[in-house]
């Protein structure tokens, strides 16, 4: 009985989740082609503001969702990692575009094969680049995830990916 959350705390968490999901301060980490579709989504035609995510913050300290938009090269990976570390909890990561999800068709010496090898990722939006409708869908999936998150501030440990070593 004592382990079950009380009425009060579960209500409070619901309220927190509701508040958080409609006030997403995103940090757009734009590197490549997907940035064009990110711009299209953010501007008036598709208007990401309708989902409470209309205010990009260009400082990781003020942001709570990291949008990784575009291919991450090995040269860029340490920068991305540092930006993620600079963000305050609670924080979420969206992999925008297939290059960030899996590396896409740039399977070569220069490219990180999916940012989930270096960061925990919450929502994957595949597509090369994804259409704005897909981005909005991914955003709503993220909102669901934020809403249902319990015990504020902490998050389940990301699933570890097996390290495949090949030369």
């Amino acid at each position: 009985m004592s382990n079950e959350p009380s009425f009060m705390t579960s209500r409070l968490e619901e309220a927190l989740g509701w508040a958080r999901k409609y006030s997403i301060f995103q940090y757009p980490f734009i590197t490549a082609c997907c940035g064009m579709e990110y711009m299209a989504t953010a501007c008036s035609h598709y208007d990401v503001d309708r989902f409470g995510a209309g205010l990009p913050r260009f400082s990781p300290r003020q942001a709570d969702v990291l949008f990784v938009v575009g291919t991450i090269s090995h040269k860029m990976a340490p920068v991305l990692k540092r930006i993620h570390e600079q963000m305050a909890d609670p924080k979420w990561v969206v992999a925008f575009g297939v290059c960030t999800c899996t590396g896409g068709f740039y399977d070569n010496y220069a490219t990180v094969m999916g940012i989930d090898t270096i960061l925990p990722v919450d929502v994957y939006i595949p597509g090369c680049p994804p259409r704005p409708e897909m981005v909005l869908d991914g955003l709503m999936k993220l909102q669901d995830k934020i809403q249902n998150e319990r015990s504020s501030g902490t998050r389940p440990a990301p699933e570890a990916r097996p390290e495949v070593l090949e030369a």
Partner: protein
């Protein structure tokens, strides 16, 4: 100037420096000795009839795998020969790689804004020591004194092919990071050999 007169103008001036020339598909091309690059470059830049004032592009080619790519034979085991698609006949064939003994070739493209003609210079560069991916290529003179555009382009060639440029003011990697070993566009650099700074290999 047409490509033939362009070739003639430079060849007449430097009969020893120019080893070969062709104008395949209308692109005037001169193959130069490495030693004579600087004087030819200075000549084509300042000569009033040529005035190659813009260095459009500078890149390199690694000819070590030229003509050696395997041709996959489908249905060969079944006895049915499905020949590769026909090649379009070539009236004026390309003479081939600039120098059979040289592994690399540095390729320069010039354009003259005033005369509206283009010229390609090819400088074959042999391997001077080592072999395979640790081979050291011979040095080529830098053109960054004549065209500032050459500065970054030569850095890129060094980064991608490991060809050094003699007299370059600041020859360091430009696209890859300093920790990277090897030169990725060489033919013997495997496409998927990763050298991550952080994170797993794959």
């Amino acid at each position: 100037m047409t490509s033939d007169t362009l070739i003639a103008a430079v060849t007449e001036r430097f009969p020893d420096g120019v080893t070969a020339s062709h104008s395949y598909r209308g692109d005037a091309t001169l193959v130069l000795k490495r030693e004579s690059l600087l004087e030819v470059a200075a000549f084509i830049k300042d000569d009033p009839a040529l005035q190659m004032n813009m260095l459009v592009d500078l890149s390199a080619v690694d000819y070590s795998a030229f003509g050696k790519s395997p041709v996959p034979a489908f249905f060969a085991s079944s006895g049915v020969t499905l020949g590769p698609s026909l090649q379009i006949p070539d009236k004026d064939p390309w003479p081939g790689p600039p120098d059979a003994a040289a592994r690399f070739a540095v390729v320069y493209h010039f354009y003259s804004i005033s005369h509206k003609h283009r010229l390609r210079l090819v400088v074959p560069t042999p391997v001077v020591s080592g072999h395979g991916d640790s081979a050291t290529a011979g040095e080529v003179d830098t053109l960054s004194e004549l065209w500032p555009a050459a500065n970054w382009l030569e850095r890129e060639v060094w980064d991608m092919y490991g060809i050094r440029f003699r007299g370059h003011p600041d020859l360091r990697r430009i696209l890859m990071y300093e920790e990277f070993e090897g030169h990725p566009l060489r033919k013997d650099y495997p496409v998927k050999r990763r050298q991550p700074l952080i994170g797993p290999l794959n």
